[in-house]
Amino acid sequence: MANGQEEKGEVKEMTGAKWEREQALVQKILEKAPYAEGRVRRERRIEFKVPADRIRDFLMTLKENNFELMLQITVVDWLKEGEYELVYQMWSITHRTHAMVKTRIPRELDKARMPTVKDIYPVAETYERDAHDFYGVYFEGNEKMEMPWILDDAEQGLFPHRKDFDMLAYVKKKYKILDRFDENKDNYVI
C-alpha cells in the first residue's frame, strides 16, 4: 500500500514538471544520435523520427539505453504522400517507457526496402515477415522473407492491406457473389 502511494505521488510530480524524466531520456538519446528528431508525447510515451538508412544505428543506440523489448513493427500507408511510415514500437522495462521510432520510405513496391534489424532484436524477424506479407515492404537481410506467413496462396503477392488494393472487386471475383455488393447500396441484399 505504501509502495502504491509513493508511485502515485511520483506520477503527480512528473506531470507537474512537464514529464521531466522523459525529457531527460530523449535528450540523452539524441546526444548519441544527432541525426534523429525526438519529442515527448506524454508521460511514459516518447517518439523519434529517424531517416530510413540510419534505423539500425538508432535501434542499437536504443538498446544500449535499456530499451529491452521490441513490441511491434507497424506500417502506415500514406497514400497521398506516396509513403509508408514504419513505426518500431519499443518498450523499456527499466525506464517504464514506450518509444515509437518512426521512419518513412517510398511506397512503390520496388523501392519499399529496409535493412533488417533482426540481429539487434531477434523478434523483429516475425514482424518483418508480417509487414512484408501485408504491405510488401522488403527487409534486406532477413532470409525468411520469401517464406509463407499468414496469407494463403491466393493473396500472396497482392499485399491486401495497401490502401489502393481494390478490396470489393477482389471479394466479388473471389467469392463469386455479385448482387450483395452493389456500390450504390440500392441493391443491398443480406
Partner: protein
C-alpha cells in the same frame, strides 16, 4: 438376417442423446464454448461433450467466421468424421459473411462448401441461442431431417466444384506439401 432398418428409430434416438462435438473452434464463438460446457449451461446433461478426435465425433460446431485457410482444415476434418455427422453453424458469419461481408479473407456462404444442418443467427449468439439450436438439431435428428451427411455424398461433385473454385485444383496435396521446402533446411542449403 436382421433388417437393421427396423431399428433405425432406436438408433436415431440414441444418436440424438449422445452427440460428441469436435473440439475445433473457429473464430470468436470459441469463447461461448466454455460457459456452454461448464456448470452454468451444462451441455453434458444432453450427453454432449467436446472430443479431441474427429474420428469419434458426431457434431461439428462452426463457431464464427471461417477463413479460407481454416475452411481447408474444416473440410478435411469433416470428411474424417464417421457417417452420421451433423454441422451446426454459429452466428451470421458462416451464414452470409456477417460483418466481414467485404473482407477478402472470410467465407461468405459456408453451405456452398460443406452441408450445414442448423444455422444460428446472431453476432455472437448467446449460449441460450446455441442450446436452442442444439434442441432443434435433436428434433431434426429424431425425425430424420438432419441429412447433411447424405447431401454431401449425393452432391459431392457440386461441393467439390465450389471448393476447387475457391482453392484451386489439387489444393489438398498442395497444402500438405506447402511447408516441405521450408522445413528441410539442409536440403535447401545443398541446392
Amino acid at each position: 438376417m436382421v433388417d437393421w432398418r427396423l431399428f433405425e428409430p432406436l438408433f436415431e434416438f440414441a444418436r440424438k442423446r449422445s452427440l460428441w462435438i469436435v473440439a475445433f473452434c473457429t473464430g470468436c464463438g470459441g469463447i461461448e464454448m466454455p460457459p456452454l460446457m461448464t456448470s452454468r449451461y451444462d451441455l453434458e446433461r444432453f450427453g454432449m461433450m467436446p472430443n479431441p478426435a474427429p474420428r469419434m465425433a458426431d457434431l461439428f460446431l462452426i463457431t464464427g467466421y471461417v477463413t479460407p485457410k481454416t475452411l481447408k482444415r474444416i473440410i478435411i476434418t469433416y470428411e474424417m468424421q464417421p457417417d452420421p455427422k451433423y454441422v451446426l453453424a454459429h452466428g451470421s458469419c458462416p451464414l452470409n459473411g456477417g460483418i466481414y461481408w467485404d473482407a477478402y479473407n472470410a467465407i461468405k456462404h459456408l453451405d456452398r462448401y460443406i452441408p450445414v444442418d442448423v444455422v444460428i443467427a446472431g453476432c455472437m449468439p448467446r449460449p441460450e441461442a446455441v442450446m436452442d439450436g442444439i434442441k432443434k438439431l435433436m428434433e431434426m435428428i429424431e425425425n430424420g431431417t438432419a441429412d447433411g451427411w447424405k447431401r454431401y455424398r449425393e452432391n459431392y461433385e457440386w461441393y467439390k466444384k465450389n471448393q476447387d473454385e475457391l482453392f484451386g485444383e489439387g489444393w489438398r496435396e498442395r497444402e500438405a506439401r506447402r511447408w516441405i521446402p521450408w522445413l528441410m533446411d539442409k536440403k535447401k542449403k545443398e541446392k
